[in-house]
Amino acid sequence: MQVIGIIVSLMAGGLLAMALGPKSAQASRLAALAGLAVATILFFPLLMLAISETGSGTGAGAVWLSQISIEWIPRFGIRLLFAVDGIAVILIGLTLLLGYISLLSAWSEITKRCGFFYFCLLFTLAGVVGVFSALDLFLFFVFWEVMLIPMFLIITVWGHENRYYAALKFFIYTQASSLLMLLSMLVLVHMHWQQSGTISFSWFDLLETDTSGRLGFWLMLGFFVAFVVKLPGIPVHNWLPDAHTQAPTPGSILLAGILLKTGAYGLLRFIFPLFPEAALEFTPIAMTLGVISVLYAAKLAFAQNDIKRLIAYASISHMGFVTLGIFAWNAISLQGTLVQIVAHGLSSAGLFAIAGLIQQRTHTRALDELGGLWPQVPRLSALMMFFAIAALGLPGLGNFVGEFMILLGTFQTSPIAAVVAALGMVLAPVYALIIMQKAFFGTPSADAKSTSVDLVPHEIFMLAILVVGLIILGFWPGLLTNLSEPGMLDLMRNGLPAGQGG
């Protein structure tokens, strides 16, 4: 029930912001903030419930914290089925947190058509919350698509110089791949109908479907493509650098922080549980793709001149670890995946926010036009250093925990993949530190138009939240993994092929 409340209050906040927009920009900001605040208040009972159910290592807690099912289209047994487990609680929490971050970064950056912007922002958030909580496949698909449009508009209307191209590419990649998912979904439902005689789109019902045949493999592939495009993984990553680069800062934060995570979530929730045999068969290929993503994207990141592009490729590299972790499919790698998702959400949001701040101050994102920023903007530079180090996986910060757990888990199933992917942790410092070296150290370049304004309080506040989050995650990942444990163990059991489940 709370989930519907969260979605509705986000949407209501968005509509209110749009209505107030033409009159006063400030009012629309506050309306958006209010919508987000109400959503957060509604989220707290869920969080409390999740905390009270933590298994603290035994995995004994209740899996589903909140579940609601309302009839929607009876002709096809489609229901408004929302169910939340620990995993979803964590991801919804991340969504709301990054909602605040992008709202704060929009505060000073977005000056025109404010109302419309906050409308798009909040509707994207609402769509993402829906994706994380809908367990009727039809409903999931609706949210999956619906979050696309506001994001598309954010890039189109408020983006940078090449925004139309980027927006088009973003939309076509995601939408075309999700058509495959829709087709697979319908075939899956049809299969379930033939096996059981009832038409249902519910995830719980579809778990029962026997998808071990050849057709099951193709269906799994349909889902896999849609999720990997969103993730994104090589070879379908092409839209991401453009979309990230052209999106306004709050848009980049949303994209990197949470939209990519819907792909990861999809892989986690649907691939193994629905198609255990096919997924197992596909594991070597998926792991290879994951390893390639880790290494190749890291190399590409190093070659970029545009800061945002660099961070975008770094994201692809980090998401390669997620693919690895999911396809290793054991408790430690899955928990590591979740930590990685959250840590990457926080660190990439920080990196993009700072890239945006740099662009605001110097009017460029090109590394070769920047240089010697540290003496001019020391606070900004120090924070950039922090996020860069977090991204390269320094122990003590969240990303390290995530990557370490993933590699540990992967080593159990596929030592070779783990060993090769570990090289990614060597490449990460290369691209992370190149930003620092080129932009912040050295002599200021001749044509730098720096205005030398360091961070203002609300920007520090925004980044401080992320810093604290990353440190907590680095030192106390158990906070997160305890929450997700019952859900994750249940998911893992569902994802094991018949006969191996226990």
Partner: protein, 491 residues
Amino acid sequence: MDLIQLLALMPLLIVGGVSIVLMLLIAFVRNHALTCFVTCIGLLAAMLTSINTIGDGIIQVTPLLVMDDFTRVFCALMIGISLAASWMAYTYMEASDEIREEYYILLALAALGGCVLIASNHFASMFIGIELLSVSLFAMVGYMVHGGKSSDITLEGGVKYMIMSGVSSSFLLFGVALIYAYAGILTIDFLAAPAGATLSQGYLIVGTSMLIIGLAFKLSWVPFHMWTPDVYQGAPAPVTGFLASGAKIAVFAFLIRFLIASGPDRIDLLLAGLTIMAVLSMLLGNLMALLQSNLKRLLAYSSVAHMGYMMVALIAAIKTGNISEDVAAEAIGVYMVAYALMTLLAFAVLSRLAALNSEYETGNIEMYGGLLYRHPWMATCMFVAFLGLIGMPLTAGFIGKYYLMLAGVDQQLWTLLWVLVAGSALGLYYYLKVILVMCKESQDDAPAELETPVASGFSGVLISGLCLMVLYVGIYPTPVIDWIQLALASL
């Protein structure tokens, strides 16, 4: 003909009556507002009568027409489309310097033709219906021939439509003649009749094929689609809206009835032909639309593609055979409703904008740059229409596409499904291109077009209504599904 039959025929009689009343009215009083009002009220009454009699059972009125729930539901849809077409025409006509009132007579006649076609279960009434529809449409397509710069395009469109209709009619008639030669009877369920069948089955195959080719012209299936872009471009926007939705729905409805009644599953050749046409329509329609820089031509090719999508369900329906309980025929019905709503919405916005500035009418896509900032509400409605045509969830288009895929999956038409997915993916590009253009900020802040408040309010209600309907069907499709199921149950 007794009273019961006469009452059953009431919706058609009212529509026919409207055209006569209008003719008399114009003879005495030439008043645009009054004419439009009478048309709208008349059509509304006909639509409500049609809806009201749903569930009255199957009544055969003369050997020519059958009034069953199928007829009633689709007649209501057809008349509703005509109502929208006359509603959106008011503002449009008001802004033009053409003689206005006769348009409504033609529209009412076209609506009558459509209804007759939907209700026909006899080849004679089929031909009457299709000709009544087409002949009215020639005049409607060329209606604006005196006005303005684009008169030669209009003339070209009108003449092209006339010639193509002539060609399609000759195919139809020859097909009907061959079927008659084979079966010795002119009702569409000719195979059920014990008579005849002395000739070889070749007559039947060729006859049915020619009949379908004749209808394919009307539905602009590739390779019989050549007229579509020129006619769409040349016709006045409200007429294009009617042509794209109403005319196609009536023909499709007849096709369903014909294919079910004649049980063509015995003819594999026909199925192969339909499959080829479906693949070609989906691919070529989308590919050609990619190349267009004119909104009206773009919508023309997109309608070719959408007709191709509907063929997937049509082929599935033919393959299953058991129509009334099957998802495939339902899919066609739901898709027709969704497609009609979305197309009407797009053209309603187009006509409304054309009334503000005739440059919009040319369809030149540059004109729509920055529409979102000049006419936010119009642009939003256009977004909804285009997102629907893309097949975005929460719009009617998604429900339609969902149904089509389900029908295809049910019959395992993998090739067609792949083409459907590929075609939809191609389609994304050109629909989004239009949306992007509307989001672009124009270089010079063009002054907003002057609005005539009363008229724009009038068409604004229609546009908002259609927009809400597209969303409503997308969010809660159950009522539409129920209706279509009811209609199909009576076949």
